[in-house]
Symmetry: C2
Subunit: 478 residues, 2 copies
């Protein structure tokens, strides 16, 4: 196998330009799930790659939204590895991009190296092609892979993955014995070190809509004139009143009965992990360590590292992601008594919570408080799940990556969440998410990039691909 | 004068096509205040018309927004009449228009007659040109007008008239002795009858903004990721909490201390007027009589006509005109912890209220309740005002219009309001608003029209112009 390994690396080196070209080809195809641009063409490009690879089954999974992709590469091996993939990206604000976003331009980024710039360069189209390049190299050198691979892709990750759970249910018999799930992604920092989240908090994404029609009060089919509010009820005020019974921001307290019943304090082991992380980052304010805080000031500033990390990892959130009604344009008033108002929530729930049960609690509470007319839509519900750091799958990965990088940090949970958690929560399959070499940045924003050549500690594209190839052997040996 | 009158009518008839062409020319010039399209060109077109008319003074009034226009036509007469004008329109959703909106197309409307279709056809560019056509005819026949005219125009009516009060202040010495103010407008219904509002409720248009920066909590310069809300405060929830201390929708009760101090019940005379209106409309549900209700259902459905009319005319409203924060697009979630949230209110206040005092009460209440950081902007503040039905100015108009139409209904107040109220509230000048013949509709929306030729009871363009011409003589005789 060690000869093979060198041969695979040599093959990847020899095909470097071709593999970069493939990566750029995939990036040039827009796949923007928020407006549908290029999505279907992107799904077809992906199924083409999977057919080329020799998958015996390749199926486009039609949904009410954008299609998923199922493919299976049977190597006659003992183990099956699941490969998660999202092929969609966020929309590109072309006016803010430094280069045309769908040119997949190659640029030298100071201090980093030569990188490809495009939506999906980091999250997560380019790493996925590196993963497929690795598989192609192994197949070319050895004729077959050491593991079977079940590919399950979606084009709706940026929409909250409304159908991925259905895909898993549809293929549960094919998936349930898998040795693990790998989601390719560039997880090196600028310094080459690796940070990985072994679990994800639950995500409950809800939309509440107050409308005159459901309420039987206020303007019905269309909005009225604002001046009529002296006689006509307002669905906007009705929604505001409903929000008020859900959460008390002064006390950071969710007012839904039973909401905290599923909350459990950290176990002794979890506390030890928190302490370890807190010690590791003791030289930085926690506001700079924890992602998503983005320079915020907070009334919880006095929290210690331990307290802040505990809340981040094991505490719930109850965030209004968006709210809208009536006239929201610039200065110019259009006087209106809106017939509809909505608010969207992303609620992050720690381990122990069942997201759909929380949606039910909220529904019951709204009903009990006189807001039975307010529509509650569950736009996404992904339960929390964690892969143990001492699972053989993680240990194999850990041993391999430590050959390449100096430092590996494990976080028990990420603040975010996604549908891949279901592999763990439903089948106990360990998941390694964003678990490849490489460094990228500006995910979802202008100038999103992935480094392809670097003189520093960041793995170049050939090293990234060789890592995935080698990992297959480690998995086969489990 | 009666010979003159026939001559003016003959002149208007002879110049009918030219006058319609002038009307269409003005309508073809976009003057959209919400996005600024054509506004300055429209103001210049208007000043050109006023110069042609022979005004000795014509001045563009520059503002931080769009310009106003002051013009004075000195006829050496005893009385000066103020002419209010808005030259802006709402934006046109071209995709919804039955004809190109800025072609000022002439179309036959079934049951109505030949009409011109364009933004401003009804509200209020076309009626204003009919008014200028009338003045030009009188000048052509007689060489001069029987009254002096002070023209004061704005291009920001659809923005809440932020600068019109300044214009009035700037010319207060020229305006204060005026005999009355006329705002040309087509006030006939389809049946040819006339309904006119002699007063306007006050309008207080406010914007409340909660931001991380002002608050010193939550995301500051940019939004954070929603998952951080477990540690970071949300300006959206902060705004919702502030809304909650302003108004109780269950009880339809404004919670601002002192808010109801300025509220007075109807006087005996006002009650008598209410009763008279209620009797007049007793065959229709009040929901169909009062404007702006637009098919709404209301918890106040059980109110009698008298009660509903009383609330509409003499009760305050506290309407959320718009609210927005975070991600408000379709389905696709962009997970965000917004750094800013705002709500806009149009608050309609009956006679007796001082709008700016109410803004001060709200500011003080927010401060007292711990929302001192929330920014309060007064986007418009027009005090309520009413012109008495028995003022000589109204009596003169009444006598003239009853020569032309069967039925005239006077409403003491409209639910709406505008900056022309200041003529009355500051100087006691009677105002006749939308006080011309003619019929139009779909104001501000697709297919906005004004009827120019009709075989039914609606005045045609020549009759509309002749009415304004004749009204000048009636005013001169006061």
């Amino acid at each position: 196998v060690s000869t093979d390994r060198a041969e695979v690396a040599a093959y990847l080196q020899a095909h470097k330009e071709e593999n970069i070209a493939r990566t750029r080809e995939y990036l040039r195809q827009p796949t923007v799930s928020s407006n549908g641009r290029g999505i279907r063409e992107g799904a077809e490009l992906l199924t083409g790659y999977l057919r080329e690879l020799g998958c015996q089954e390749v199926t486009l999974l039609e949904t009410a939204g954008y299609p998923g992709v199922w493919a299976y590469l049977d190597s006659g091996a003992k183990h099956t590895l699941i490969s998660y993939c999202m092929y969609d990206t966020k929309p590109a604000r072309e006016d803010l991009w430094p280069v045309p976003p769908f040119a997949a331009a190659l640029e030298d980024l100071p201090g980093l190296g030569r990188a490809v710039l495009a939506p999906g360069a980091k999250s997560r189209k380019a790493p996925y092609i590196q993963w497929l390049n690795a598989l192609r190299a192994v197949l070319a050198v050895r004729g077959k892979l050491p593991v079977n691979i079940a590919f399950l892709a979606e084009g709706e990750e940026n929409l909250g993955s409304p159908h991925y759970g259905d895909f898993i249910d549809q293929y549960r018999d094919r998936l349930k014995g898998a040795v693990g799930c790998l989601a390719p992604g560039a997880c090196q920092g600028r310094d080459g070190n690796v940070e990985i989240h072994l679990g994800h908090k639950g995500l409950l994404y809800l939309k509440l809509t107050a409308s005159g029609r459901s309420w039987g009060r206020g303007p019905q089919a269309t909005s009225g004139h604002g001046m009529a509010q002296t006689l006509v009820d307002s669905p906007v005020w009705h929604l505001v009143a409903a929000l008020n019974v859900l959460y008390n921001p002064d006390q950071d307290r969710v007012l839904v009965p039973g909401f905290y019943d599923q909350l459990r304090p950290p176990t002794a082991q979890e506390s030890a992990e928190i302490h370890e992380l807190a010690t590791q980052f003791r030289d930085l304010p926690w506001q700079k360590v924890l992602p998503g805080i983005a320079g915020a000031k907070t009334s919880r500033d006095m929290l210690s590292h331990e307290e802040a990390f505990e809340r981040y990892l094991y505490g719930p959130s109850f965030n209004i992601n968006g709210i809208a009604a009536g006239y929201t344009g610039p200065g110019s008033p259009v006087f209106t008594l809106p017939n509809e108002a909505f608010a969207q929530f992303d609620i992050r729930l720690p381990r122990g919570y069942r997201t759909r049960e929380v949606a039910d609690l909220i529904r019951r509470h709204l009903d009990a408080e006189g807001f039975g007319d307010i529509e509650l839509e569950v736009l996404a519900a992904h339960d929390p799940a964690r892969t143990p750091v001492d699972s053989p799958f993680v240990r194999a990965w850990d041993a391999l990556i430590r050959e390449q990088v100096k430092q590996v940090e494990y976080w028990p949970y990420s603040g975010g969440g996604g549908p891949w958690s279901k592999f763990t929560s439903d089948f106990g399959i360990p998941v390694l998410f964003d678990a490849g070499l490489g460094h990228g940045g500006k995910a979802g924003g202008p100038g999103e990039f992935l480094v392809l050549e670097s003189e520093g500690p960041i793995a170049d594209s050939v090293a990234c691909e060789a890592f995935y190839a080698e990992f297959l052997d480690r998995v086969a040996d489990l």
